[in-house]
């Protein structure tokens, strides 16, 4: 899409030289433009793009000594809504760095194979979900579809060539469904969301943040989450090799900025979600479900072997579609810059590489008056103007929700976790199973809830009924 905003920011070097008010020095300087292609609306690239740009983190780390003493850097940020235009800009050498999802990344690497000037290399990961959450399929909230098989023969749109497309193909492959099981058509997120709202299509599969954003905006319901494919999904950063070889210190500086952005995010996830809402227009409650503690995305710059394996699977899918020839993702990874950035910041890269832990909800449940035990059974309530409060169980979360509501407070959102899959859910979109001992077990899918209800001989409740049950039963 053509929507693009430019930010021109003078580098720290330029600011420093201006501070010296040394007019003669300016003539000796050469200007190097660094083009960075971001996807602001794709929330899980925030730590490699939006946050760095808005907090001017890159300027802090750009080299100023040695051969860089005479170089003035000019940053040119360009924002896009999907990966392919970023690849296009990189091919044209207007962008030296670009961030995108797994499928567009692989296409990026493959496309650069034919570029005589430069190749592209994967230099860092923005965020990932090892079980494939983030991508999802939504239907209109009034539609009678509750699981993927309900959409047999129906019109389903997905942006072709995106991570969500990969999820759909994998889901169909796993179930041994033929290629014409759905009427699968290609629609960009903008077109697909409008079509879904107008009920022109029966389902829309999309990447971060749309599978959460559309339900949050109130007209859609998620009936399939990428976790069911169990194929990792992730976003990453690629850089042009001609630039990286000429200015390796700049690449390292950029990666240090990525690490700093990660630290800033985890320091105060609520503040980060609110800021990202201001910068990108994606609702803070949606940002938080991805990037907050126990969120559906883990932000981590290290390039994990599991993700590269997943990329190899993506290559196979694209080859089967006749969209790609030979491409080896292993040769396309270049972690030298990232390792250097970690080393210069005195951080242990290999330890970070091994860990696949996200940060989790912790603290004291002030409603049920006990500490958080299992963070993936916990919940959170976000009252407007207050801190996001953690609760130890779904029942406690709903209890606190009802309590705040009774006190006349405005509640932004409440989160619970899917009992079977451990993914974070909007409480008001979940199905709850009421078992014995006032237990409440939240589920994303109706069928999971029903199966569990039979198992524990409980019953399936909607959010409103579940709320009533906590109030009366508590």
């Amino acid at each position: 899409m053509g929507r693009m905003s430019k930010y021109r920011v003078l580098s720290a070097a330029a600011v420093a030289s201006a501070a010296l008010a040394a007019a003669p020095a300016a003539s000796a300087q050469t200007t190097v433009t660094i083009g960075i292609g971001t996807q602001d609306t794709t929330t899980n690239t925030a730590t490699t793009g939006t946050i760095i740009r808005q907090l001017h983190l890159l300027e802090k780390y750009l080299p100023t000594d040695g051969k860089y003493a005479t170089i003035k850097f000019e940053l040119e940020w360009q924002n896009f809504t999907s990966g392919p235009p970023v690849t296009n800009g990189m091919m044209a050498n207007k962008l030296q760095f670009g961030m995108m999802g797994d499928y567009p990344l692989v296409v990026n690497g493959f496309t650069f194979d034919n570029n005589p000037e430069s190749k592209s290399r994967l230099i860092a990961v923005s965020a990932y979900s090892l079980d494939g959450s983030g991508n999802g399929l939504v239907v209109h909230k009034d539609s009678p579809y509750y699981e993927l098989s309900d959409l047999k023969g129906k019109l389903v749109s997905v942006p072709f060539g995106s991570a969500a497309h990969g999820m759909m193909l994998k889901a169909m492959q796993d179930r041994k469904w033929p290629a014409d099981y759905f009427q699968l058509v290609s629609q960009s997120p903008e077109v697909g969301s409008t079509n879904l709202q107008e009920k022109k299509i029966d389902g829309h599969a999309d990447f971060v943040p749309f599978a959460e954003l559309l339900p949050f905006r109130g007209y859609a319901r998620k009936i399939f989450d990428g976790v069911e494919t169990n194929l990792p999904t992730w976003h990453g950063v690629v850089a042009r090799t001609d630039f990286a070889e000429k200015y390796p210190e700049v690449v390292v500086a950029y990666l240090k900025a990525v690490i700093a952005a990660n630290a800033w995010l985890r320091e105060d996830p609520k503040r980060a979600a609110e800021k990202i809402q201001d910068w990108t227009g994606i609702n803070k409650e949606v940002v938080y479900i991805f990037l907050g503690p126990g969120g559906n995305m883990t932000t981590d710059p290290t390039i994990k072997p599991q993700l590269i394996e997943a990329a190899a699977t993506d290559v196979k899918v694209l080859q089967n579609l006749g969209r790609m020839k030979e491409f080896d993702p292993n040769k396309w990874v270049d972690d030298r810059y990232l390792r250097k950035a970690y080393a210069e910041l005195h951080m242990d890269y290999d330890a970070a590489l091994k860990s696949t832990k996200n940060y989790e909800i912790a603290g004291e449940d002030k409603f049920c008056k006990r500490p958080i035990g299992d963070p993936r059974k916990a919940g959170e309530v976000w009252v407007e103007g207050e801190a996001i409060a953690p609760f130890s169980s779904a029942a406690c979360t709903l209890g606190a929700y009802a309590d705040s509501k009774a006190k006349g407070k405005k509640i932004n959102v409440a989160y619970v976790f899917d009992t079977a899959r451990g993914i974070k859910l909007f409480a008001d979109q979940a199905y709850f199973v009421a078992g014995g001992n006032n237990e409440l077990s939240p589920f994303l899918l109706k069928k999971d809830a029903e199966a569990y209800a039979t198992q524990v001989s409980g019953k399936v409740l909607s959010f409103d009924d579940a709320l009533k049950s906590v109030v009366s039963g508590g």
């Binding site: 296009n88 942006p159 903008e190």
Partner: protein, 290 residues
């Protein structure tokens, strides 16, 4: 185009065909060449220019020329030709082309049916002009791609949304040219016909319409071109078929030679349809050879 055979058979009735000695073939050929020399010249020069264009494209991309404009990654004609042969073996490609043609045809026809009468009325009646002109002038500069979300919401089916966008593309050039044609109608002719007792309907039929017809046809030719221009925006909605969609999908998978193939295809189809309209124009207005 006048065929030589027509002219030859137009001989006096007295000469019986069987009695005439058989004419050698070369005579027919020479005659035909002489009659069509102008057209042949144009075709020949056109072909040479196209050939040069292809050659330049080939050389620029083969040697990956960079002189401010950079041909480093632009696909070569050979690569595009390869895409074309692949596409030709795929029945889907014809489907793309046919569906696009159908959409353009419907959108364009509707635009002509609405814009021409509207232009005539706006040109004739001041009140209608004053009422509608500001609205059309505001709507006219809005690019097709900006209409996409509105088009999806306005129409019950996506096919209608697509046709609507091509309709918008053609509508304004036709309307503006019709208005222009109406403004150039010689008032003396109108007064003369009024003096001779012609009623409003006759004046429209006999004076306004024929007089503005050349401009209407200019509008139709331009409108047809713009309909193709808006095709990619329109078919972003389709998600399945259409040559605009084909090009868009190639973009989302970063396949440069398929993008070029889609572009050329749209260009050639646009040329074909504009030629058809010019031909129609010659038939309708034999007095207006341009």
């Amino acid at each position: 185009m006048a065929q030589p055979a027509d002219l030859l058979t137009g001989m006096p009735a007295g000469t019986a065909p069987p009695a005439a000695p058989p004419r050698p073939v070369w005579l027919y050929v020479r005659r035909w060449l002489a009659l069509n020399s102008e057209a042949l010249r144009a075709v020949l020069i056109g072909a040479v220019a196209l050939g040069l264009f292809l050659l330049a494209w080939h050389l620029l991309t083969t040697y990956r020329v960079v002189f401010f404009v950079r041909f480093t990654n632009v696909p070569s004609p050979a690569a595009v030709y390869e895409s074309l042969t692949r596409a030709m073996h795929d029945s889907k490609f014809m489907m793309h082309v046919l569906l696009s043609c159908r959409r353009i045809l419907i959108g364009f026809s509707l635009a002509a049916l609405v814009a021409v009468p509207l232009g005539l009325l706006m040109g004739r009646f001041k009140l209608i002009h004053e009422t509608l002109f500001p609205i059309t002038e505001i709507l006219r500069p809005i690019p097709a791609i900006a209409w996409v979300p509105m088009a999806i919401m306005l129409w019950p089916t996506n096919e209608q949304s697509i046709v609507f966008i091509t309709f918008l593309g053609s509508f304004f050039p036709i309307l503006v040219n019709t208005l222009h044609g109406m403004s150039l109608v010689d008032p003396v002719l109108v007064r003369a016909s009024q003096c001779l007792g012609a009623r409003e309907v006759s004046i429209f039929r006999e004076v306004y319409f024929p007089a503005s017809l050349p401009h209407i046809f200019t509008g139709l030719t331009v409108g047809m071109g713009v309909a193709w221009v808006s095709l990619i925006a329109a078919e972003m909605i389709s998600g399945q078929y259409g040559i605009g969609y084909f090009t868009w999908e190639a973009y989302s998978l970063v396949q440069y030679s398929d993008i070029a193939l889609g572009m050329i295809c749209i260009g050639v189809l646009g040329l074909g349809s504009s030629t058809l309209i010019r031909g129609l124009g010659r038939l309708v207005m034999p007095w207006n050879r341009t």
